[in-house]
Symmetry: C2
Subunit: 351 residues, 2 copies
């Protein structure tokens, strides 16, 4: 049971002959070579572990999960994290949601000319720390540079490989009416933390992103409950509402949510009210949804609550035979309403 440590001191930046990224850093020539050798590899790797240029070699066997994500979050630094640890945690979590043990990542940067090297260093430090926390290795990468005005400081792609847990059987076809929907923690924290520092919006809050790696809470759950965990999903873009709608569509079941059960921090609730946002649609990064066998649901909640990342775990609803393809909410004030998939764009570039 490990707590997140987001504030371990960073290594000092090495002396480097540019204070910002220039186009030549993407040339494939000397400047690229130096950027890799004296900056990126220096931040990320021990000398013995520097990745090969065109690819890496892996020895693997058995069932693997494979997943990719590009990160374009704006701003790139936000309370509790930055685009670097977000990019690592995001792909680590997608692997965990496949029931896999995260192992190996690729890392690809699209840098905008003019990005400050000290900002890039800070991001690289976060990447390294997030990799250490999730026990994953970056084995291959790529760095491109685009002209000023043709990007937005930094975009990151991470693609991951992990070995599927031997007891995992994560498959939406396993979902049954009666299954319970568990959420591992409070909703909407990441989205509101990002919004709190968006240009043009300012409101007082001490909120930090909940971005964290989830493999260390998910894998013990699979160890103990195996195939009674029917589906795992992290409700990032589009929030819990959109993720549950997707599940209903693909599994042709209904889901009934209980509004009064939804865990939401007071500060998040206040910000959502002020901004006119429904927390069901706001992005999350540090929580997951589990659709689980009815008989084990309460035991799983108790199990998750023993973990630092699952202290607020709770059953928020159940799978139904009626309303197939739909999410329906039992409202706190009585009555019920259909919860649609997010339409339009509520919060662009939240991850």
């Amino acid at each position: 049971m490990t707590a997140r440590s987001k504030f371990t001191p960073s290594c000092p930046m090495p002396t480097f002959d540019h204070d910002m990224v220039v186009l030549g850093h993407g040339s494939g020539g000397l400047l690229t070579y130096r950027l890799l050798d004296q900056f990126i590899f220096k931040a990320l790797h021990d000398d013995a572990e520097r990745p090969a240029h065109d690819g890496a070699f892996l020895d693997v066997s058995g069932e693997m999960a494979f997943t990719t994500d590009s990160f374009v979050v704006d701003p790139i630094f936000f309370p509790g994290g930055n685009i670097g640890d977000l990019a690592i945690n995001g792909t680590v979590n997608d692997l965990a949601m496949c029931g896999a043990i995260p192992q190996t990542l690729s890392l690809s940067f699209i840098l905008e000319e003019g990005l400050l090297m000290k900002e890039f260093w800070e991001i690289l430090q976060s990447i390294k720390q997030a990799c250490e926390a999730a026990e994953v290795k970056i084995v291959t990468g790529d760095t491109k540079v685009v002209e000023k005005g043709k990007g937005d400081r930094i975009f990151i792609n991470t693609t991951g490989l992990g070995k599927v847990h031997p007891k995992a059987n994560i498959d939406s076809s396993n979902i049954q009416p009666g299954d319970r929907v568990i959420v591992s923690g409070p909703l909407a924290t990441h989205g509101i933390a990002i919004l709190s520092v968006r240009e043009g919006l300012s409101f007082e809050t001490n909120l930090e992103t909940d971005s964290t790696s989830l493999h260390d809470i998910v894998l013990p759950l699979l160890d103990k409950y195996g195939s009674d965990v029917h589906l795992l999903r992290d409700p990032t873009r589009g929030g819990v509402a959109s993720t549950l709608n997707e599940i209903c569509r693909s599994s042709k079941v209904g889901i009934r949510l209980v509004e009064s059960a939804l865990p939401i921090e007071n500060e998040v609730k206040g910000a959502c009210e002020m901004l006119g946002l429904d927390p069901l649609y706001v992005a999350n990064e540090g929580i997951f949804l589990a659709i689980v066998k009815e008989q084990q649901a309460e035991s799983m909640v108790q199990f998750l609550r023993k973990h630092d990342k699952g202290r607020r775990a709770v059953v928020i609803g159940q799978v139904t035979e009626d309303d197939a393809g739909r999410v329906v909410l039992n409202a706190a004030i009585g009555g019920k309403r259909v919860v649609h998939m997010l339409t339009g764009e509520q919060l662009p570039r939240i991850c």
Copy 2:
């Protein structure tokens, strides 16, 4: 022995309720769902093969190669191809250069608000055709959207996995003095084709990119010559000069090139003279360098020439004990000169 077919007719674009990309297509909600379901998946996949949302499952065993690349080429359409087939071929070739059989790709888009759907459709069609030609499958993906002015129409990341050929032993530590350097075809074609359509530059040429998948020429070479192929590299950004310099640095050998042996099309030579470019530094996409055992070099060249993609294969130099860490050129006009790694940025965003 297959020829490239770049001009097979495209499927007609489906009716779609937007004629350009909007921010909502990256929301994770309904518009994202529709973009995937009715557009991207429609272009790329048969109904039975649609990729899962958070990741894919693979059954693999043995030694695998793993490689990633982000593509930011400008312009996104150019003579003989576009960013779509370039992104597939680029990662297929990185796998081939590892001596691996390309199998599985992830595909991640960063779209700029305002990209025309008909352009995106054309790119998706090229992706599909390039995947078919290279016999690789896209199994997982991601789509993000950034505001107008924060990207440049479309950036693509592809990350690939392939099984290492059982006879391959690609490792720079295998390089020996006396080894020959083979290039599989003429230099600088891709870079000059891109430049010919760059804004602000216009010169008459019928040149097309040489971008193509190289696994179907590389794998038979490994079948026949196995570990006598010591190293394979595709000289993309930074050109042949930068790639050979990297090899010299990492292997602590010298390389002696013979200028008169370098294959360069007349049209490329003319364009390079006009623009003041050295073809040794211009990017390539459809050729590879092989460092091979001296005694087999001539036989390999004859073997490559039987393949459509290797018709112009030739020995261009050899590995030397002296000049360790350096590439030296025997100039056509007599004398010799050191060929440095590309310094600065000759041609931004060529791939």
